[in-house]
């Protein structure tokens, strides 16, 4: 359609561009500039070139924070995505009458993460927490721990909360995808004598590969950006056992006033997130093309598993 007045489309687009340029694009470019300076936020800004980046790469805490977040992502791929897939498979066997279950499991997704984090730090509380109380009740007193204060369990404890929140989210995505698998395909497999479990893993799951790839993409790129749970539950402690890039750079910028150094870490993190996102997306496109050339879904499904 041709605009009635030449300027109209520009006026329609202007508010979106102005607010985006003001609040995101400008600070994005400025963060990049800060990363090349030494600056405490108000005094003189000294240009130092790439020194912040060199320091960041050699900073053992920053290295640890990346290892921690990668461990966190790998574990959440299991407790969020894989558990979500299993739950979706379970729900699929009953379908009707499962709505209350899906509502219950999805509930944590829509609660503020801070609220969930506060609640779970009570569950993990060594004195009156639900977890230690339950273990004591079951006669497993030796298993009780200061869950969030113990270097060996803190990260794992946070991963579990993350799973508690997001397993329902991924279940919902997978359930929606699984329901779209044509029933003829499933019937054919049943007639061939396939058990429900085999049908789930060998036919349904490969057929919803697209949804699974999207879920992995979301889990990985979202994982790198985590902050709320970690900040509220441990704030990186004990001894950096749960330090992740964002808690560390918030600490550097807003507590110790190293704006330049924190910006360099932010740029590195951004580069990692964007690269991972583009890489996974590119991977999906290439495998997607192969998938489309093979037209028979059943044959395709079996090949994908073996």
């Amino acid at each position: 359609m041709k605009p009635h007045r030449f300027l109209s489309p520009y006026l329609f687009v202007a508010p979106a561009l102005v607010v985006f340029a003001f609040a995101i694009l400008t600070p994005f470019v400025m963060t990049g500039y800060y990363s090349l300076t030494e600056w405490n936020g108000y005094g003189d800004m000294i240009f130092v070139g790439l020194r912040n980046y060199i320091d960041a790469v050699h900073d053992t805490v920053f290295q640890t924070s990346f290892i921690n977040v990668i461990v966190y992502i790998l574990l959440t791929l299991v407790v969020e995505v894989l558990v979500g897939l299993l739950l979706a498979g379970l729900v699929l066997t009953v379908r009707r009458g499962s709505i209350w279950f899906r509502v219950a499991i999805f509930t944590p997704v829509m609660l503020p993460m801070v609220v969930v984090a506060v609640l779970w730090s009570f569950v993990y509380n060594p004195d009156y927490g639900l977890l230690n109380a339950a273990l004591t009740e079951l006669g497993l007193e030796s298993w009780t721990r200061v869950w969030l204060g113990d270097e060996h369990t803190a990260l794992l404890a946070i991963c579990l909360v993350s799973g508690w929140i997001y397993a329902g989210f991924y279940m919902t995505i997978f359930y929606a995808a699984l329901r779209q698998v044509p029933s003829e395909v499933i019937e054919a497999a049943r007639l061939d004598g396939g058990g429900e479990w085999d049908i789930l893993w060998r036919i349904r799951v490969p057929l919803i590969r697209n949804a699974i790839e999207v879920a992995v993409l979301l889990c990985v790129t979202g994982g790198f950006q985590s902050f709320d749970l970690f900040y509220v539950m441990t704030n990186g402690g004990p001894f950096h056992a749960t330090e992740i890039p964002t808690t560390y750079l918030v600490q550097s910028v807003f507590r110790t006033g190293e704006v330049g150094y924190g910006s360099a870490m932010a740029v590195i993190l951004t580069a990692v997130v964007v690269t991972m996102g583009l890489l996974l997306a590119a991977l999906r496109r290439t495998t997607g093309r192969e998938g489309r050339t093979r037209r028979r879904p059943l044959a395709n499904a079996k090949e994908a598993v073996w």
């Binding site: 359609m1 605009p3 009635h4 007045r5 109209s8 489309p9 329609f12 687009v13 508010p15 979106a16 561009l17 607010v19 003001f22 995101i24 694009l25 400008t26 600070p27 994005f28 400025m30 500039y33 936020g41 379970l90 066997t93 009953v94 009458g97 499962s98 709505i99 279950f101 509502v103 509930t107 997704v109 829509m110 609660l111 503020p112 993460m113 801070v114 609220v115 609640l119 779970w120 569950v123 009156y128 639900l130 109380a133 508690w164 989210f169 919902t172 995505i173 929606a176 429900e196 999207v214 902050f227 709320d228 964002t246 750079l249 807003f254 910006s263 993190l269 951004t270 997130v273 964007v274």
Partner: protein, 278 residues
């Protein structure tokens, strides 16, 4: 086929029971939270699994009175409402122009906006905070409304453009022939047709504004302006040893949200999943 029927008849109740147990285990922390809010601090310690002796809402009332929870909720409602309305208005206008007009620079402008789909918050919030401090925006509602709007616009524009692209061109040509101007076509034709898309965008935008934490933590120090996430955190550090009070505050915040979710679960689930799947 008989075996399938038998299998279904046996498996179905089995799976349903398993699901019921699983759902129960899943919401145990939430049940524990509500039950503990009715107990005394000593009872929370000594009998963590016992039912409260009676339903006593005084702790809830105390938490509400001294905890500023009403203020936090009001701030959250205000900031979320203004941000969501801004997102809907700004993005629907942009999506309309991108979808329906061909104009110079549209590709470049859409490309710039699309950057917002991949850039994480971490890539700009440091400079944003110094910018907002310089402009004296911190400790005002604008410090959150502006970034929430900016963060919501790219995805909203993208989704609404997809909706609009699916509409037939003849509809718009016909309106043009009838003499409708650009603004009229947008307001009287595009917006009403966009209603389902706007609803979806509203749901996930509202939830992400309502739950946002990092920026709220950095830009708002004034307790009277805090939103629910940062307000609750402040509350929990202030009354760190008064457990039943904390549980009461948590219950006051979560139960209404759960109630709303149970009623509108379909719309909310669809909104959230659509919002994250892009």
């Amino acid at each position: 086929m008989v075996s399938v029927a038998v299998r279904v008849r046996i498996i179905r109740p089995l799976v349903l029971t398993a699901l019921a147990l699983l759902a129960l285990a899943y919401i145990v922390p939430l049940i524990w939270m509500v039950l503990s809010s009715f107990k005394t601090n000593t009872a929370i310690f000594s009998t963590p699994f016992a039912l409260p002796t009676h339903i006593d809402l005084t702790r809830w009332a105390t938490a509400w009175d001294i905890g500023n929870l009403g203020r936090y909720a009001l701030n959250s409602i205000l900031i979320t409402t203004v941000s969501v309305l801004a997102i809907l208005g700004v993005s629907s206008a942009a999506a309309f122009a991108f979808s329906r007009y061909r104009f110079r620079g549209s590709g470049l402008m859409l490309g710039l906006l699309s950057l917002g789909l991949i850039l994480p918050l971490q890539s700009y919030f440091i400079a944003q905070s110094t910018m907002f401090t310089d402009l004296e925006l911190t400790d005002t509602y604008w410090a959150l409304i502006i970034p929430y709007t900016a963060m919501g616009v790219p995805l909203a524009t993208y989704l609404l453009k997809v909706y609009l692209d699916a509409l037939p061109e003849e509809l718009f040509e016909a309106a043009r022939i009838d003499g409708a101007g650009d603004l009229r076509i947008y307001a009287m034709l595009a917006l009403p047709l966009l209603k389902p898309g706007l609803a979806t965008v509203a749901v996930f935008s509202a939830l992400s504004c309502w739950n946002e934490f990092l920026l709220a933590l950095l830009y708002i120090q004034d307790d009277a302006l805090r939103t629910i996430p940062t307000g609750l955190l402040a509350f929990s550090t202030r009354y760190v040893t008064d457990y039943s009070l904390l549980f009461a505050a948590l219950s006051i915040i979560t139960l209404p949200m759960i109630a709303i979710y149970v009623v509108f679960n379909r719309q909310i689930t669809e909104g959230i999943t659509a919002g994250s799947l892009k």
